[in-house]
């Protein structure tokens, strides 16, 4: 006897498989809930041209119902447009109810699963869904309600709906009480998430209150809202044959050429002529789509694929931009120097992709022998789990960072007090799982990320090279002072040479090593010039962050001011070294002579005169 086949609702499926969407542990549950709420807030603000200001509060309010968990309250409040009360149940309580599904846009949310999953988790662990308060510009009073998920029916249910006074023009506040555990730092930490979110959202003002930490406000550094990319037509190279044919049939009776021009981006009359030149039968161009055979579609498709087309529109992807990223990175801590890189959009895996990279060395975080902190982003959302499987990690590991002056073991993350932020933006990012934790990377995508990293690495290496040149010069000067006299004296003792020979050898040695020092100084000066040129170029492009102009003295001395190293950093690390070493370089002969004098005693007159000569 066959068993009865039952069908279950989408909500039922997800309620049973919450681990697939980021609720696999109490720690992840807190992070995912926060992430979903913040993502929605940011998307809503951007869609309505509002500069987002978000307040996050996470508190432990008691013990959780499940073993070794806390009852954690997560509240996220935004200044977004607010939600029409009629939509509340749908937004928070129904799976796959999304305004963004399949539109071909680079929004954070895509499918309409995340926030409903958070509501489900709250309901499953604390028997209460999400408490939502919202007010649109047209409402005098705010609406407050509890949204539960009707798991059987996959729909939201409003409870305790009330109207209340809320002293803001518009916005939404959503609160969850869930069983969870709070982890602040590390790859899966809440703080790591919030820092990452601020980094790639320079236009965001964020207030946050986390357990055991003081309330903090991170002000926005950009008043410009990112252009939310409008849903653009697909690029002909982003489709497979089957998709192409289905797409064509949606256009009905039109000619094939009209279908191509109106159904795709980057196809014009000129392009169609190119197609014909490349072997598309002319008769096919004017044929109505409905009457085209499968064979004809195949022919046309293969011609289109092999014809070089203009790359997809930049408007279909979204970038943070080098300038905004430069400013934003300074919000993470005391930056020593940094380098940012925004690549031009490219097609990878048949989809337009933009990769942005920010590399920064911090004065107050990380250690020299630890791997760099890698922040991964997909459509401006931090990815915090399963690092090793991610295309971004693979790309970082594939670069030879030693060439840029960083320590690195083979095929692993480089070492040092650096933060590497890599952002991949694309209307359709291929994730490895529904919880969107790792990007599935083809060789093409990894290569694209790798190129961005290498370009950023080259910029970074200018800073590192200058530092190592400084250290090199300093070391060389020290060596000359220390070992020169000892070498000569040892030789003189073994040979039994007279004082006159000793004097001549000292002079000779000084000349020799003086040449070396000059070479080292020239190398340093060259490194400084290259770095200054890079910074000047960045300054002209307006991507220097909050950076002071190098003052006259610094310019004269070729010092480390400018775009890549913020003013705070200049007070700290390498600043003094170069000036000191320069002065030291000039005085090398004199110092060498003085040391010699001390060591040899009576020969002071001649040694001093040598110093004067030098």
């Amino acid at each position: 006897m066959t068993k009865k086949i039952t069908s279950s609702s989408t909500a039922e499926y997800f309620a049973k498989n919450l681990q697939q969407v980021g609720f696999s542990s109490p720690t992840k549950a807190v992070l995912t809930t926060l992430k979903e709420a913040v993502d929605n807030a940011l998307d809503a603000c951007e869609e309505h041209d509002l500069l987002p200001e978000i307040r996050v509060s996470i508190k432990k309010v008691g013990s959780g119902a499940s073993k070794s968990t806390d009852l954690v309250e997560i509240a996220v409040e935004d200044n977004g447009p607010g939600i029409d009360p009629d939509d509340l149940a749908k937004v928070f309580g129904e799976y796959l109810a999304s305004s963004k599904f399949g539109r071909g846009q680079c929004t954070r949310g895509q499918q309409g699963i995340g926030i409903s999953a958070a509501t489900t988790w709250a309901q499953l662990t604390n028997a209460m869904g999400a408490r939502v308060t919202t007010k649109t510009a047209r409402m005098r009073k705010a609406v407050s309600a509890i949204v539960d998920v009707d798991i059987k029916g996959n729909r939201g249910v409003l409870k305790k709906k009330d109207t209340i006074d809320w002293d803001i023009p518009h916005g939404t506040k959503v609160e969850f009480r869930i069983d969870g555990r709070v982890q602040l730092n590390g790859d899966g930490g809440l703080l790591t998430y919030l820092e990452g979110t601020t980094l790639v959202n320079p236009h965001l003002t964020l207030h946050y209150e986390l357990p055991d930490l003081e309330t903090k406000t991170v002000e926005r550094v950009s008043q410009v809202l990112p252009d939310v990319p409008s849903a653009t037509l697909p690029h002909p190279h982003t489709m497979k044959l089957g998709e192409f044919m289905t797409h064509a049939h949606l256009y009905g009776k039109v000619d094939f050429s009209k279908f191509l021009k109106t159904g795709f981006s980057r196809v014009t009359d000129v392009t169609i002529k190119e197609f014909v030149k490349n072997g598309m039968p002319r008769a096919l161009v004017d044929k109505p789509v409905m009457r085209m055979s499968e064979e004809e579609f195949k022919t046309a498709f293969s011609v289109i694929q092999k014809t070089e087309l203009q790359q997809p529109s930049t408007r279909s992807v979204l970038t943070v931009g080098e300038e905004a990223l430069s400013k934003s990175i300074l919000r993470l801590g005391e930056v020593d120097f940094f380098s940012v890189m925004t690549r031009k959009p490219r097609i990878c895996d048949f989809k337009p992709v933009v990769v942005e990279v920010a590399l920064a060395r911090f004065l107050d975080r990380g250690a020299g022998d630890e791997p760099v902190q890698l922040l991964r982003f997909a459509n401006r959302v931090p990815l915090q789990f399963d690092k090793s499987a991610c295309a971004i990690t693979k790309a970082v590991e594939s670069v030879n960072w030693r060439a840029y002056g960083l320590g690195q073991s083979k095929d692993s993350l480089p070492l040092g007090p650096y933060v590497f932020a890599v952002s991949v933006v694309s209307p359709f990012i291929k994730f490895k799982n529904a919880s969107k934790e790792t990007i599935d990377g083809s060789d093409e995508l990894i290569e694209e990320i790798r190129r961005a990293l290498m370009q950023a690495g080259q910029k970074l290496s200018r800073h590192i090279r200058k530092e190592s040149r400084e250290a090199d010069l300093e070391r060389k000067l020290q060596h000359i002072e220390q070992f020169g006299p000892i070498l000569v004296e040892g030789l003189v003792r073994i040979v039994g040479a007279p004082e006159s020979r000793k004097k001549r050898a000292e002079d000779g040695l000084k000349k020799l090593l003086g040449r070396d020092t000059r070479d080292a100084e020239a190398a340093l000066s060259d490194a400084q010039t290259k770095l200054a040129a890079l910074k000047e170029r960045e300054r002209r492009l307006g991507i220097g962050g909050n950076v002071e102009e190098p003052d006259a003295e610094d310019r004269a001395g070729g010092d480390a001011a400018a775009s890549g190293s913020p003013p705070a950093a200049r007070k700290g690390k390498p600043g003094g070294t170069s000036k000191a070493s320069k002065a030291a370089g000039e005085a090398v002969s004199a110092r060498f002579a003085a040391t010699t004098t001390k060591a040899t005693g009576p020969a002071s007159t001649s040694a001093t005169s040598t110093g004067k000569k030098a």
Binding site: F483, G490, L491, I494, V495, G508, L509, D516, A599
Partner: protein
């Protein structure tokens, strides 16, 4: 006086005079503001040559050049500093170990603050300078009165008599049969030792593990056979290598090496004993015994005696390294590449292919009722020619 006694070979060089000439040349270059260059034989595998007629690794044409510049000024100053200490030793006839030289340098630095920059952070630093001086002057470290600890080489025999010329010119005669259970510990001064056999000696057995050598002797091997049994104690020291060469040359007995069947034993222990090492290219002529044969453990012994083997785990770092070492030896070591040693190379290939290793003590697993089984197998292998 001491100079004669510690001489390891008939050296025609006057070391103090040569050192002085060298330093004079360096000083002259400095006076003329030219960059002096110190040159030394490159002692590494890529500069090793193996001629089966010679039988040991010899240096090729490659030289290590140290030209004076800001980066090398420290090394040069250190070379001159230690050279002075060693010359003082030669003058006074004092000898020291490398470690003692390290501490002498420490003492000098302490007494003369201006030498502080030369201070060695650890012995490795001073050792490499001492080695460089030896390679530069093409003299043995021992000829600079710097001796290593006489490790390994504990020797047992009922027939061997050693006559040693002492520092004061007197001679001492040591009949190894009169030492009871104590072994003879050879010193690293082969020129001062003369060997004689009271009775014909049939073979000399060098065992990798000195413990196993002791066991064989304690069980009466040297009483039952006219032989010499020696413990190598791992990688053979200069003392052991010189001693084996002496046995080979003076009493002309066949020498057999018995050790583990693994890449480390084959390349680091046996090859060093037979043909010297890449690090000591300039002294392999006096510190290798090219006629020594590899008695085992051979791959065929594993099969014949059903010996217990350990699998070499490739995920174990140390074991993976040993496997890599075997592959490297086959690819780069001129000793194993020479067709004269193709049977030894075949053993390495067997190790790489089978990913197994077998320890010398595995012989004790054969017929546990017979405590003399290991000895019997060894003697049987010698008699039947089961060696490489």
């Amino acid at each position: 006086m001491t100079d004669k006694i510690i001489r390891i070979r008939n050296l025609t060089k006057d070391i103090p005079k040569e050192a002085k000439t060298l330093c004079d040349a360096v000083l002259r270059e400095l006076e003329n503001a030219n960059r002096p260059v110190l040159e030394a034989v490159k002692c590494s595998l890529d500069n090793s040559e193996y001629d089966p007629k010679v039988g040991y690794l010899t240096p090729g044409d490659k030289r290590v050049r140290t030209e004076l510049n800001v980066s090398s000024v420290q090394k040069m100053a250190r070379v001159v500093f230690l050279l002075e200490i060693l010359l003082d030793n030669l003058k006074s006839g004092m000898v020291n170990t490398k470690r003692e030289v390290y501490y002498i340098s420490k003492g000098k630095v302490k007494g003369t603050p201006s030498l502080k920059p030369l201070d060695f952070a650890d012995q490795d630093e001073s050792d490499s300078i001492i080695d460089f001086i030896g390679d530069m002057m093409e003299v043995y470290r021992e000829e600079l009165n710097c001796f290593a600890n006489d490790r390994g080489g504990q020797t047992y025999s009922q027939q061997l008599v050693v006559t040693e010329t002492l520092p004061d010119g007197e001679t001492a005669t040591i009949d190894l049969s009169t030492l009871g259970t104590s072994p003879f510990q050879p010193k690293n001064k082969p020129q001062a030792l003369k060997l004689k056999a009271k009775k014909k000696i049939d073979f000399c057995l060098v065992v990798e593990s000195e413990g196993t050598a002791g066991t064989l002797v304690a069980n009466g091997m040297t009483k039952r056979h006219n032989c010499i049994v020696m413990g190598a104690q791992g990688v053979p020291s200069n003392g052991v290598r010189g001693w084996c060469k002496l046995i080979q040359n003076q009493i002309k007995v066949p020498i057999y090496f018995f050790g583990d069947l693994d890449a480390y034993t084959m390349q680091n222990i046996f090859r060093t004993l037979k043909a010297g090492s890449a690090a000591s290219l300039i002294r392999n002529s006096d510190f290798s015994a090219p006629e020594v044969r590899f008695l085992g453990v051979l791959p065929e012994d594993v099969k014949k005696y059903d010996l217990y083997c350990y699998p070499v785990k490739e995920n174990d770092q140390a074991e993976a390294r040993s496997l890599k070492k075997a592959k490297d030896a086959l690819a780069n070591d001129p000793f194993f590449q020479d067709k004269k040693n193709r049977r030894l190379a075949a053993i390495l290939e067997w190790l790489v292919k089978n990913k197994l290793r077998c320890e010398q003590q595995a012989l004790f697993s054969v017929n546990t009722k017979d405590p003399l089984m290991a000895e019997k197998i060894i003697v049987d292998k010698i008699k039947s020619g089961s060696f490489v």
